[in-house]
């Protein structure tokens, strides 16, 4: 099994921007829309290379979602770009009616998700977006873990027919998925095998789960780390297979506990394979200003928190 080490430090949003440019070159049906955050979303390269296929809509996210829906009528594959909060909560009914209910092939690409947006504070840190989007029938929800995986996910969603919510972040974080790594929507990636406890992580917390696995190993605990990049549709088989082996688990995500990845896993296990479970997530509160690493630590989303949660889950077996 391939192990994962840090290749370099990069922001996931740059993985999106790089892939969008690649897609623009290979697929003339790709169009992109942005609500006055082209630089933040790393969409400049696409906008410069394909000005006819790039639509600057100004600070008008509701209109952006409607225009994107319209562009699919005529065969285009629109990628919308703005911060995660403005990609979801602000435009939920537009996505619900004009995109999801209307079965439109729109890719909602959302940067600056979660608490690691940092200093801007809770107005911009969405921790509810996965929940809102996974509730919409027919919506695919993807939260890649690093630069390379965000690049791979961006390419993959272009080939998937149907609405997709792709969630990524702002800060530079460890890039550890190989550049040639495989990405299949809905297929979890077994990162490290173990037998005592399963850790199902998504997004930025996948790296923290890998770090936690090393510390647990020193403590004599064999943890299995699985990267759930696709929250919907959930890779049920991969989850059940792992929990059948380990008998307990931890979910880890940069999101509210209500409505997040842990929620989806708990629903699955409650019906198929009840097991002691601990949740690494924000528990019914808003974020605040601070540095990304400080915030992860403050809200209990860091490596030591995952280690402690794994030990708690094991003690309940």
């Amino acid at each position: 099994m391939r192990d994962f080490d840090i290749i370099n430090y990069k922001d996931t949003r740059s993985g999106f921007g790089e892939a969008l440019l690649e897609l623009g070159k290979t697929n003339p049906k790709i169009v992109a829309l942005c609500a006055d955050l082209t630089g933040s979303l790393k969409m400049n390269a696409f906008a410069d290379a394909f000005p006819d296929r790039f639509f600057q809509v100004g600070i008008a996210e509701a209109n952006m979602m409607g225009i994107a829906a319209g562009l699919t009528i005529g065969g285009f594959i629109p990628f919308t770009g703005t911060f995660a909060n403005f990609s979801t909560a602000r435009v939920y009914d537009q996505i619900r009616q004009s995109i999801a209910y209307s079965e439109k092939n729109v890719k909602i690409c959302a940067s600056h998700a979660g608490i690691t947006l940092g200093e801007d504070g809770a107005t911009h840190q969405t921790l509810e977006d996965i929940g809102m989007m996974k509730m919409l029938p027919g919506m695919t929800v993807i939260n890649p873990c690093d630069f390379n995986q965000t690049r791979q996910a961006t390419v993959a969603i272009a080939d998937h027919k149907g609405p997709v919510y792709l969630r990524f972040g702002r800060p530079k974080v460890p890039n550890f998925i190989p550049g040639d790594g495989e990405f299949t929507i809905g297929k979890a990636i077994l990162m490290r095998e173990g037998s005592d406890v399963s850790i199902f992580a998504t997004g930025h917390l996948v790296w923290h789960a890998l770090e936690a696995q090393k510390i647990l190993k020193q403590k004599g605990i064999s943890a299995e780390v699985i990267n759930i990049h696709t929250i919907k549709p959930l890779d049920k088989e991969a989850i059940l297979k792992s929990v059948r082996k380990t008998g307990c688990l931890v979910s880890a995500e940069e999101h509210e506990k209500n409505g997040g990845l842990g929620d989806s896993i708990a629903q699955l296990l409650a019906q198929k394979l009840p097991a002691p479970m601990e949740f690494i997530a924000v528990n019914d509160r808003f974020g605040q200003s601070g540095k990304p690493e400080e915030l992860l630590s403050f809200y209990g989303l860091d490596t030591p928190s995952i280690v402690a949660a794994a030990e708690r889950a094991m003690s309940r077996k």
């Binding site: 006819d52 209109n63 829906a69 319209g70 005529g74 285009f76």
Partner: protein, 281 residues
């Protein structure tokens, strides 16, 4: 392409369909549907270049009409069926379980003629801009039309879309506002005054023309004029002065028939005012 006399006959039948559909479903929105009937008749039977018999969801090389005020679904469904998109007898399934004719237009049941779900107000103009942009990219010379209610203009998203189309010169777009000056809670002047609509749209960079939406000659003439004016660097806005409930005397002059269905006696009265020109479904 139907001419004025025939269009008036078709409109009478569509009005009968509307009244019978909302009575049959014991729910629905007759007021706005009747007010928009002349426009929809003119569009589907005269103005639009479209192909009802081989429905293409992408609408390539066809004129497309998006109904943003989705609650006028009875008028839309009747116009679609009567122009050949689906069997006329299917109108009897309006708002019933497992029907393709949902309360508000939807794509999920694959009803020919519907390309986007509408009903939650304020979204159709944005979608229409997107279709217009797609047509430009595809070198498709056809036109995108969008009908909105006037009450719908209270929605903020409409003004995001009005800003975009004016500023970015979406010239293959023609919007129509059903300017009946009534909304659910009462006259627009009481609920949320629209002030000088012409000046508002002109300030946003639109070319504005007006018509009487319940005079077939004026509707056909004005929509042809709108088409002639389009393609010249401006989106076109048609202020359609109309009467909610037009064609049924007791439904006119009030907002009370916006979302109220007629009982059997009222239905009989209404139908006595409308000629059965094409045969009821």
């Amino acid at each position: 392409m139907a001419e004025i006399t025939e269009l008036k006959q078709i409109a009478s039948q569509i009005r009968r369909d509307i009244v019978r559909m909302v009575n049959g479903a014991q729910s629905g929105h007759p007021g706005g549907s009747l007010g928009c009937t002349d426009l929809l008749t003119a569009m589907y039977f005269n103005i639009l270049h479209h192909d009802p018999l081989t429905f293409d969801p992408d609408g390539r090389n066809e004129d497309l009409l998006i109904i943003s005020n989705g609650h006028i679904s009875p008028a839309l469904y009747s116009a679609l069926a009567r122009s050949g998109y689906f069997p006329v007898k299917e109108l009897s399934s309006f708002r019933k379980l497992n029907s393709r004719l949902q309360g508000h237009p939807a794509t999920l049941e694959n009803l020919p003629g519907i390309r986007i779900a509408t009903g939650s107000l304020g979204q159709g103009l944005s979608v229409s801009i997107g279709i217009a942009l797609a047509k430009k990219l595809n070198n498709d010379p056809k036109t995108v039309y969008c009908l909105m209610g006037d009450g719908e203009l209270d929605e903020g998203q409409v003004w995001e879309a009005v800003t975009y189309a004016g500023a970015k010169k979406t010239e293959n777009l023609i919007a129509v506002v059903d300017y009946n000056k009534k909304q659910i809670d009462g006259p627009t002047d009481e609920v949320m005054p629209l002030l000088d609509l012409r000046a508002k749209f002109e300030a946003f960079g639109w070319r504005v023309i007006e018509m009487n939406g319940n005079e077939m000659e004026d509707v056909v003439k004005t929509m042809n004029r709108a088409k002639a004016l389009s393609g010249n660097g401006e989106p076109i806005m048609v202020l359609m002065h109309s009467e909610m409930g037009a064609g049924v005397n007791f439904m006119m002059g009030t907002h009370k028939w916006h979302g109220t269905f007629p009982n059997d006696e009222q239905t009989k009265n209404a139908l006595s005012q409308l000629d059965e020109t094409l045969g009821d479904y």
